[in-house]
């Protein structure tokens, strides 16, 4: 399997960015080639979207998956998935049922060569708190994850603050269990300082300063390199990228920055998200030097 040997922050792309095009105007190979064009070497997939016949892909598809990774010099970095314990309208799944769903994804992520999972748990409040039994669900899956060298990561995303109780609860859980199989994916939306006029902004959102990520870095195997506006001189005007990436480098952080574009304009006619991704990758390449 292809391996990109560089240490430090590395460029990658979440294929979620292609949500308006995938299956209509682009197939998996075309997404891979687009990422390859950018000189990026890591990818994130969404299991329920990008895996044929999920959660039971045919063996031929898995063979093709590895062939495409090799061909386009890509590493499978993050496996996006959901613990859908609210999947039934009349009752919540039991901890055992949720853990079973989670373990099935851990096995599939491992089969596809991933080491990191973006584990999304159902939320129970407007401030995005996870289900109350999240610790029990994760604990049930830890032995399998540890055996396979997998790390499950909730994503920390605007409006959540890096200094919030939710994040502290996750960190406490890691310390209490001593596990290396649970961590955090920090989405750079938490650092967003600028909003366009009239744009919706969560009233509870307080942006973090880049330094706030430092104490969390031991638990962060990858980040969502969120961006909103990269201008024609290839500057991100809403997130202090230069400062964030400098902090990652100074702290010897080693991992992937996975671009994730969420702008609703990607659904506009003839929009090619690859062109927006390229802007952002020029920006990151200019800062990183590679």
């Amino acid at each position: 399997m292809y391996h990109y040997a560089r240490k430090g922050p590395k460029r990658g792309v979440s294929l979620y960015s292609y949500s308006a095009e995938f299956g209509l105007t682009k197939n998996l190979e075309e997404c891979f080639e687009d990422v390859h064009d950018m000189g990026a070497h890591g990818i994130e997939i969404l299991a329920n979207t990008h895996i044929e016949n999920y959660p039971y892909p045919p063996a031929e598809w898995v063979d093709k998956w590895f062939a495409l990774l090799e061909k386009y010099e890509l590493e499978p970095i993050e496996y996006g998935h959901w613990v859908d314990s609210h999947v039934l309208k009349f009752r919540e799944l039991t901890t055992e049922e949720s853990a079973e769903m989670l373990c099935r994804d851990i096995r599939l992520a491992h089969r596809l060569g991933f080491k990191i999972m973006r584990t999304k748990m159902p939320v129970i409040s407007a401030s995005l708190d996870p289900v109350e039994n999240w610790r029990d669900i994760i604990k049930s899956a830890l032995p399998l994850a540890e055996r396979l060298g997998m790390i499950m990561c909730p994503e920390i995303h605007n409006p959540t603050n890096l200094k919030s109780e939710m994040v502290q609860n996750y960190v406490d859980f890691i310390k209490e269990t001593g596990t290396k199989s649970f961590g955090l994916n920090i989405d750079f939306s938490v650092f967003r300082t600028e909003f366009s006029e009239g744009e919706w902004r969560d009233p509870g959102f307080v942006p973090n300063v880049p330094e706030d990520i430092i104490p969390l870095l031991p638990y962060v195997p990858c980040c969502h390199a969120k961006y909103f506006n990269v201008d024609d001189s290839f500057q991100e005007t809403t997130i202090p990228y230069k400062k964030i990436l400098s902090i990652l480098i100074e702290n010897n952080w080693d991992g992937y920055l996975l671009s994730e574009y969420e702008g609703a304009d990607k659904y506009d006619q003839d929009y090619e998200v690859g062109q927006t991704l390229r802007r952002q990758h020029i920006m990151m390449k200019n800062i990183l030097g590679y």
């Binding site: 979620y16 299956g23 979207t49 799944l93 999304k120 609703a264 659904y267």
Partner: protein, 147 residues
């Protein structure tokens, strides 16, 4: 696969062994960016030329298997992939007549990562409260031809 949720390919009458039309079918794609389990799907009404077919009258065919609305409500193992349109099958003696038909279908999905109040407000028989392009519209319409 076509961009519109209601696919023009797959719209036709269905026939019994003697060749008599006994109903019709059409295909829809999932406009959501990720696949869902069948229990996450909330079905509204299928309306053809003003005639309403309730969810109990519509069979969903996914990966070659047929499911009633009741079966779907408790099925959290069968997954509907966004690249595999589902076929909707309706019994109707004589099928649909030759010519144009105005087809409207309402459905939406639960998300699990939305705040509960937003989830509870979802109603597949009505337009969505807030439109997000990555979830698509609840109600989709298309005018199509039966030969």
């Amino acid at each position: 696969m076509e961009k519109q949720v209601i696919q023009s390919v797959g719209f036709r009458n269905i026939f019994d062994e003697q060749g008599a039309p006994v109903g019709f079918q059409l295909k829809i794609r999932l406009p959501y960016y990720r696949g869902v389990y069948l229990s996450q799907i909330m079905q509204g009404n299928l309306v053809v030329d003003g005639q309403v077919y309730k969810k109990e009258q519509v069979i969903w065919r996914i990966n070659g298997e047929d499911y009633t609305a009741e079966e779907m409500a408790s099925d959290w193992n069968t997954h509907w992939h966004p690249l595999e349109p589902a076929t909707l099958i309706v019994k109707k003696d004589g099928g649909l007549s030759q010519g144009f038909h105005d087809v409207e279908y309402g459905f939406c999905c639960s998300h699990s990562y939305f705040p509960p109040e937003l989830e509870a407000a979802a109603d597949p028989t009505k337009p969505e409260l807030i439109f997000f392009p990555e979830f698509g519209h609840n109600i989709n319409r298309r005018r199509m031809l039966i030969v």
